[in-house]
């Protein structure tokens, strides 16, 4: 497991326990079938010419339960726009807490957005951090990095 994945495990565990009243596992070995993600939320961390984008992919059931728990309502009463909004806020808090573990003064956090779902996200160990529950993969976190060339 990479260093960022170790850090991210702690960040996600704390966040889900504190504000979503749920827990997940980070094991991918038990996953037999790649999940079908329903949404992907992302936010950028920027330092000078470097941009690291934090992506959070979620299956529909996971996204619904997370939104319902966060808002303190039943799943049937959660509109999809609320699910997307909660996913963005979850990504925002994950990236903010992750930034805290980096050299915090150098990084700026962007504004989260809903992106195009990457179905293969986190499928290969090492590039993503799988989120699972009872042996079923329900989500994934992965980072992408880009560098802007100086003008």
């Amino acid at each position: 497991m990479n260093q960022w994945q170790m850090v991210m495990k702690g960040v996600i565990s704390e966040l889900l326990e504190t504000m979503f009243f749920m827990s997940v596992d980070f094991e991918s070995s038990a996953v037999a079938v790649a999940p079908l993600y329903a949404l992907e939320s992302q936010v950028e961390l920027v330092r000078n010419m470097q941009t690291v984008t934090v992506h959070l992919c979620m299956t529909r059931p996971f996204a619904l339960v997370a939104a319902a728990n966060f808002l303190g309502v039943e799943e049937k009463n959660v509109a999809w726009k609320d699910v997307e909004d909660v996913a963005k806020e979850m990504t925002n808090m994950i990236a903010g807490s992750y930034k805290l573990q980096l050299d915090d003064s150098e990084w700026s956090l962007g504004i989260p957005s809903i992106g195009t779902v990457t179905q293969a996200a986190g499928a290969s160990a090492g590039t993503g951090l799988p989120l699972s529950h009872l042996g079923e993969q329900i989500g994934s976190i992965f980072l992408t990095e880009s560098r802007r060339e100086p003008a």
Partner: protein
């Protein structure tokens, strides 16, 4: 005393969560107003009496720092308690927020009791200073 509270965050879901925390934690809230950025917040402030502002920092159009600056420049609002509820953890930015007049700071994620405790402390300090006549003559 019951407070009129203004929640400023571009996340509607987080505004709902904070509103629910305030309603269920014994906090004495009268009316709760909402805004999705600093510009909307200033509109609410110009139309309603607000006792406490809770604001995020990272928001589109007008962020929390710009909102703090606008509040601190206004003679009527400059003593209004503003508390930051944000993912921002950079000490330099926290210091900047305090210099701009923020009374408190809580980092997301937070537990409901942490928010309530912070608000009571902030409002307690405010009441104390008002009781001592420290509010000046800006009104």
């Amino acid at each position: 005393m019951s407070y009129n509270v203004l929640l400023v965050d571009d996340s509607a879901s987080l505004r709902k969560v904070i509103r629910k925390i305030l309603r269920t934690s014994g906090f004495h809230m009268n009316e709760c107003f909402e805004a999705s950025n600093g510009r909307e917040a200033l509109q609410v402030l110009s139309r309603h009496w607000i006792d406490l502002v809770l604001t995020d920092i990272h928001m589109p159009e007008m962020d929390g720092f710009e909102l703090l600056e606008a509040i601190s420049r206004n003679e009527i609002w400059r003593d209004l308690p503003v508390v930051l509820v944000t993912t921002e953890s950079n000490p330099g930015r926290q210091r900047r927020a305090m210099e701009l007049g923020a009374r408190g700071y809580i980092r997301k994620p937070f537990r409901p009791e942490e928010l309530r405790s912070l608000l009571m402390r902030v409002l307690g300090e405010t009441h104390e200073s008002m009781a001592n006549g420290d509010e000046g003559c800006d009104f």
